[in-house]
């Protein structure tokens, strides 16, 4: 609706001064309400509308930086002296002290306190209220606890930032086996793990060669990344110098690292003089310099090295059982064992299932190999001496774990039952002489307590789904680390029942081993006797008759026909009896029949003999 107001003015009146005058109000437009338009609207009752008048707020999240806390002590320095006395000035302090001592109050107080104190001192001297009253009872409680173990940490090669157990995507994607674990010798919070792929010819091009040192306080990120030239199969801390590690590579070289110097090896052995196969065993030797180690590999050699000069080994031994030192006959070594209390002797477990004990200080190379123990059907994956009874050692291979005594070379003194899966690694407990651990290729860790039960493990724990490849126990015997095929390292804490020494355990265990050794000796002696007897008997027979094959044949034939003849005559004797009993019809034919058949036999015999 348009509202128009027309305003007219003559042209000649433009520009004239304005005269303003009052005018009455005039209605220009009057728009009455139109009820018909109301139908276009809908009545809304109730109406709710709102008005927002609040302060604007926003939500923020903050994750603080990790705060490192350190415990510190406070050093107290002299204080409390009155203002005019300088604590450094000895004379002033002495004077102050003397003044106090003259004080009446002081004397009274001290006498009073003195008597009180004396009373208590005498009390202390009279009875010790904190002594162990019920010592034996406590021991009994410990036995009831069932053995158990719990996982305390899992270090995985894959780690991601959002999961509590921390999995971080491994950039390569190829999972490598954790082939060997070594605990830091002093602090039990660090672990060096060697990763490599032990599948034959499976080296993916971009598989990383790195191995890591993990700090247990920080399982997200390795503390140090070791970068060798070829993947490490084995890695060991030097027990004397905890910054030095030696590693054996997949291509046979040896390398050593100093953790203070970073991740690259300080020195690597020359390829020509190193092993020709992956290094499966490397152990430090307790020498004065702390710089010697030795290594073994499936190429059949055991090499001794001085770390400072890795360009060539200091000594070499070929594992040839025929004692001729020929590399062609040598057996490949898969496990190496060394006991620091017997520094000249060491043992090697081979791929062929034989354990060779060697003496390093023998005069001539053939004599270096002192004895062999064969018994496993497959490679001996682990070899360990019992820390309490050094003559007894454990071998793990194929489907069993066997315990041997050094004196018995023919057979093990004890062995576990045949499992359904391969046993991959094993070690003795460092605190209990009768306890040892084994890992299986179905991901189970077994704890055996041979004093308690020999048929089954005391504790079987399924650690993971993939095979477990390596095992290492901390020196305190409580925590065990196991590495799996896919590179996950799990740390388990064993219940105290399995890692505290019981009363008399050492004597009992030693007695058990001796008993088994004696049993084996007796069995062996019996076997030997039987064998000797057999040999003697067969030798005796041979001196009487020099039997040639044809004569043997004749003798056998003669014996056979004699037996047939005897049988025939027996039947002939029986026939008349039967004939008398039965009806005599067609009996004429019967004897003739038998006679005929016997003669037919004899005819055949003669024919055979002539032939």
């Amino acid at each position: 609706m348009e509202i128009i107001y027309a305003y007219t003015r003559r042209r000649s009146e433009f520009g004239r001064p304005c005269h303003f005058s009052d005018r009455a109000a005039e209605v220009d437009v009057d728009i009455p309400p139109d009820p018909s338009m109301a139908s276009a609207f809908v009545l809304r009752n109730p109406v709710d509308s709102y008005v927002q008048h609040t302060s604007t707020v926003s939500e923020h999240e903050v994750n603080t930086e990790r705060v490192e806390v350190q415990s510190r002590g406070v050093n107290h320095v002299e204080g409390g002296w009155p203002r005019d006395i300088d604590p450094q000035d000895v004379e002033q302090t002495i004077r102050f002290r003397k003044k106090v001592e003259k004080d009446e109050n002081y004397i009274n107080t001290i006498t009073h306190l003195g008597t009180l104190m004396e009373h208590c001192i005498k009390q202390n001297n009279a009875i010790d209220i904190y002594e162990e009253y019920f010592g034996e009872e406590e021991m009994a409680e410990v036995d009831d606890e069932p053995p158990s173990a719990k996982t305390i940490n899992v270090i995985s090669m894959l780690t991601a930032c959002f999961d509590v157990l921390l999995l971080k995507r491994d950039p390569n994607g190829t999972k490598r086996t954790a082939t060997h674990l070594s605990w830091h010798p002093d602090t039990y919070k660090k672990l060096a793990v060697a990763y490599s792929s032990l599948e034959f010819q499976q080296n993916v091009k971009d598989m990383s060669f790195d191995s890591y040192i993990w700090d247990l306080e920080n399982p997200n990120k390795p503390e140090l990344v070791l970068k060798p030239t070829s993947p490490l199969v084995i890695l060991e801390y030097n027990p004397k110098d905890s910054h030095v590690l030696v590693g054996g590579c997949y291509n046979g070289q040896m390398a050593y690292w100093d953790t203070r110097k970073g991740g690259l090896p300080v020195e690597v052995s020359a390829v020509e003089v190193s092993h020709r196969d992956p290094v499966y065993g490397a152990i430090w030797l307790p020498s004065k310099t702390g710089m010697e180690c030795f290594s073994a590999s499936t190429d059949g050699q055991v090499l001794w090295w001085d770390i400072r000069k890795l360009s060539e080994p200091t000594e070499r031994l070929v594992l040839d059982i025929t004692r001729q030192g020929l590399l062609e006959n040598a057996l490949g070594a898969v496990a190496l064992e060394f006991e620091p209390t017997m520094p000249t002797k060491f043992m090697v477990g081979t791929e062929q299932g034989i354990v060779i004990a060697c003496n390093r200080k023998a005069k001539t190379p053939p004599e270096k190999i002192t004895s062999t123990y064969s018994g496993h059907h497959g490679p001996v994956y682990a070899l360990a001496r019992n820390p309490f009874c050094p003559k007894v050692f454990l071998t793990v291979g194929d489907w069993t774990a066997r315990i041997w005594s050094e004196e018995m070379k023919e057979s093990p003194i004890m062995q576990t039952k045949y499992h359904l899966s391969y046993l991959t690694d094993g070690c003795w407990s460092t605190v209990r002489p009768g306890v040892f651990f084994t890992t299986r290729s179905d991901g189970v860790l077994d704890v055996w307590d041979f004093l308690f039960k020999q048929k089954d493990p005391s504790l079987s724990l399924k650690v993971c789904d993939e095979p477990l490849s390596s095992l290492q126990l901390q020196d305190n015997g409580r925590v065990v680390g196991c590495g799996s095929k896919l590179g996950t390292v799990s740390l388990l804490e064993i219940s105290s029942g399995l890692c505290t020494l019981q009363r008399n355990e050492k004597t009992l265990a030693t007695a058990m081993f001796e008993r088994e050794t004696k049993r084996e000796k007796i069995l062996e002696a019996r076997h030997r006797e039987m064998r000797l007897k057999e040999r003697a008997r067969s030798e005796g027979r041979e001196s009487k008759v020099e039997e040639k094959p044809e004569e043997v044949l004749d003798r056998v034939r003669r014996e056979f026909f004699q037996a047939v003849e005897a049988e025939r005559q027996r039947r002939v004797r029986e026939e008349p009896q039967r004939r008398r009993d039965k009806v005599p019809v067609g009996t004429g034919g019967a004897p003739a029949g038998t006679e005929g058949s016997a003669s037919a036999f004899q005819g055949q015999d003669r024919a055979g003999e002539q032939a």
């Binding site: 002081y106 006498t111 003195g114 001192i121 001297n125």
Partner: protein
Amino acid sequence: AEVEETLKRIQAHRGVIATVVINAEGIPIRTTLDNSTTVQYAGLLHQLTMTARSTVRDIDPQNDLTFLRVRTKKHEIMVAPDKEYLLIVIQNPCE
């Protein structure tokens, strides 16, 4: 004189390692230990005694601390508090 005798007698008991007398401000008056250890004991035990005393009095205002014994792995520290002074004795109990 008497004081000397008392302290000497205390020191002579079996197992007593050291005796220290400190005043209300924590200044060692008499001691049989070297200075730095004495200062350490003085400062720390003084605080401990004050805290113990206030604890006892918080629980029951009529009560008061008469003696404090701290048994540790290696020895026993005994503190006899008073309004103004503190007598500390370190003893190795009879085991």
